[in-house]
């Protein structure tokens, strides 16, 4: 067997477990975990947007919270101010994030490495402070709460986010779709162009790849992923707040990605799941659990610089009878 085959099998098992969770968890009286798993999926999507830029195109963005925030506010303002339904509001959130990324991307992708990291933070800070200032529109620090509209109606049956199972399955469906999309993307010619730009900008340019255009496309797609995560998180929490646009939130996406495994498909999700788990479980036991998170982050990069997914693949490859 090869490492890829083992990982494919495990991914299929994971998917089956996630789909069965709403019916399996009540058997163990652990419904509580359904909401946590939904949150893990959302943060996993958010981390995936940082991973797309850093792991695949080699651009370290510390500003993904901006697009997450646009996704959140698109939904909250759409529902609260314009009275939109579930799907139009979701669409508005994603469209707002994509539009913002398309504009910011034109400027940001001209810069690389440190300068790129800094300009992405600067853009996100500008809109963070704007969101704090435009209180009538955004609610500022307090945020904007809303009552979520129903997802769909079939005759007499109404699917609403108030039902934990419906909410979880909606989030799971989007997460699975987004990961399937990424798998296709990275295997496509465009995905190869991403890798070429990451490995060597000059060689990519000599091969006839329009480096700026490829970077811009990646930036917009990553903005869309972050926007989707933000839109789902707005529906999940039933509110939007400027605090989620601060640079610390962007930093977390990068951290989760690197702890989970940069450039891998499931690494960002694993990192996000691990840290959500620590936050939910350890925080009930010990108030100062962030000390542990900080230590884990440092130990991971020092001793397993390829992240959890990288360490896992290396360990698998060392097993007898496994081809790398």
């Amino acid at each position: 067997m090869s490492v890829t085959a083992i990982n494919r099998t495990l991914t299929a098992v994971l998917l089956a477990v996630l789909v069965a969770a709403p019916w399996v968890l009540p058997m163990f009286e652990a419904e509580f975990w359904l909401a946590i798993t939904a949150e893990m999926l959302i943060w996993g999507l958010f981390a995936a947007s940082a991973n797309l830029l850093f792991g695949h195109v080699g651009l370290l963005s510390f500003g993904q919270a901006l697009y997450f925030g646009f996704g959140m506010y698109g939904v909250a303002i759409g529902v609260d101010r314009f009275g939109l339904g579930f799907w139009p509001a979701l669409g508005l959130g994603i469209a707002a994030a994509v539009a913002m990324a398309a504009v910011a991307g034109v400027f940001a992708v001209r810069l690389t490495w440190h300068y790129f990291a800094i300009i992405t933070v600067v853009f996100s800070l500008i809109f963070y402070f704007l969101a704090l200032r435009l209180k009538p529109l955004t609610g500022g620090d307090d945020g904007l709460s809303f009552a979520p509209p129903p997802v769909a109606r079939f005759g007499d049956v109404t699917l609403s986010l108030g039902d934990e199972t419906v909410q979880y399955l909606v989030i799971l469906a989007f997460a699975v779709a987004a990961f399937a999309f990424q798998a296709r993307l990275y295997a496509s010619p465009l995905g190869r162009a991403f890798a070429a730009v990451r490995e060597s900008e000059r060689k990519a340019a000599l091969l006839g790849i329009d480096v700026l255009k490829v970077r811009w496309i990646a930036f917009v797609i990553a903005g869309g992923l972050a926007g989707l995560a933000g839109a789902l998180f707005a529906f999940y929490g039933r509110y939007a707040s400027a605090t989620y646009m601060y640079y610390v939130v962007s930093g977390e996406a990068v951290i989760w990605t690197i702890v989970g495994g940069t450039g891998t498909l499931l690494g960002p999700g694993i990192g996000a799941a691990l840290l959500t788990l620590v936050r939910e479980e350890l925080s009930t036991v010990w108030e100062h659990y962030l000390l542990v998170v900080g230590a884990v982050v440092i130990l991971t990069v020092v001793f397993a610089p390829r992240g959890i997914a990288g360490a896992w693949n290396a360990a698998l490859a060392r097993l007898p009878g496994v081809r790398s």
Partner: protein, 286 residues
């Protein structure tokens, strides 16, 4: 109104000189190690907390001014050795490990010092008449202290052998290595020196602001702005940019409000990044 603006400009000057100290540390660490130290703001915050603790236990602000930067140096040495050195070849990973350090510092302070902000009494009470208003003596003293520390750092860099090594490593690491300069040791001490500057800034700023475990997260963007607008690796430019930004923010926030001032300086920073990524003062003396 004019007197009011003068006060705001003076506040900006004092604050800008303190930010310059912190930004200088950020800049030398970046210039010599290629490390973006995300925990740098938290080092500043720890300086304030330790100053508060020192004053509570010994009653002497002077003691804090001497001891706290030394503790910062020790903290910097340990951090470089254990969290930076093993992954120095991969700059992206060092951002992550300093982020981990930032979490640890904030949470350690929250666990011991507590989540509530506290105030430290100014060691020099009283006011002086300046431009027709009464201005706090301590703020002037803080500005002078920060300016002296900046001057001392530049003298150290220009006049001592170690300072020359630092400039050499920043200029061209490979050549410095072939010339027999102990690059690894220079980098280690540079990180420690940067940390000490941040803690010193924290001590000087403590009586002006509140001592709070979130102070680092708030000051970090201002320091990055100074480093970028001054030009990455351009130390006098960084110091000048810090003062310029703080005075501008002070005056703009007097005319409208602090958030508008922040947005103004962030837009200025975007323009500098896009139009003159080498910084506003490139070409001036290094």
């Amino acid at each position: 109104m004019l007197a009011n603006l003068a006060t705001l400009a003076l506040n900006g000057l004092a604050w800008g000189l303190i930010v310059a100290l912190i930004a200088l540390g950020l800049s030398i660490i970046f210039g010599l190690l290629d490390v973006i130290n995300v925990a740098h703001g938290d080092l500043f915050m720890v300086g304030g907390v330790l100053a508060w603790t020192a004053v509570e236990t010994t009653g002497s602000f002077a003691a804090a001014l001497v001891v706290v930067p030394l503790l910062g140096m020790a903290l910097g040495l340990a951090t470089e050795r254990f969290a930076i050195r093993p992954i120095l070849r991969n700059p992206a990973l060092t951002i992550v490990s300093t982020f981990g350090l930032s979490l640890i510092l904030q949470e350690a302070v929250r666990a011991t010092f507590g989540p509530a902000p506290r105030r430290l009494m100014a060691p020099l009470p009283g006011t002086l008449p300046v431009f027709g208003t009464n201005y706090e003596i301590y703020r002037l003293a803080a500005a002078v202290a920060a300016a002296l520390a900046l001057a001392a750092f530049f003298l150290f860099q220009q006049r001592t052998r170690f300072g020359t090594w630092m400039r050499a490593v920043r200029h061209d690491r490979e050549t410095a290595l072939t010339l027999g300069i102990p690059v690894a040791r220079v980098q280690l001490l540079t990180f420690a020196l940067g940390a000490a500057l941040a803690l010193l800034g924290g001590v000087i700023a403590a009586p002006i602001t509140t001592v709070d475990f979130r102070a680092g997260v708030e000051i970090l963007p201002a320091c990055f702005m100074a480093v970028v607008i001054g030009g990455l690796g351009n130390l006098p430019g960084t110091a000048a940019a810090a003062v310029l930004l703080a005075v501008t923010e002070g005056v703009v926030s007097g005319l409208s409000d602090p958030t508008a001032a922040r947005i103004t300086s962030l837009c200025l920073m975007s323009a500098v990044l896009l139009l003159r990524p080498q910084g506003l003062f490139a070409g001036a003396a290094r």
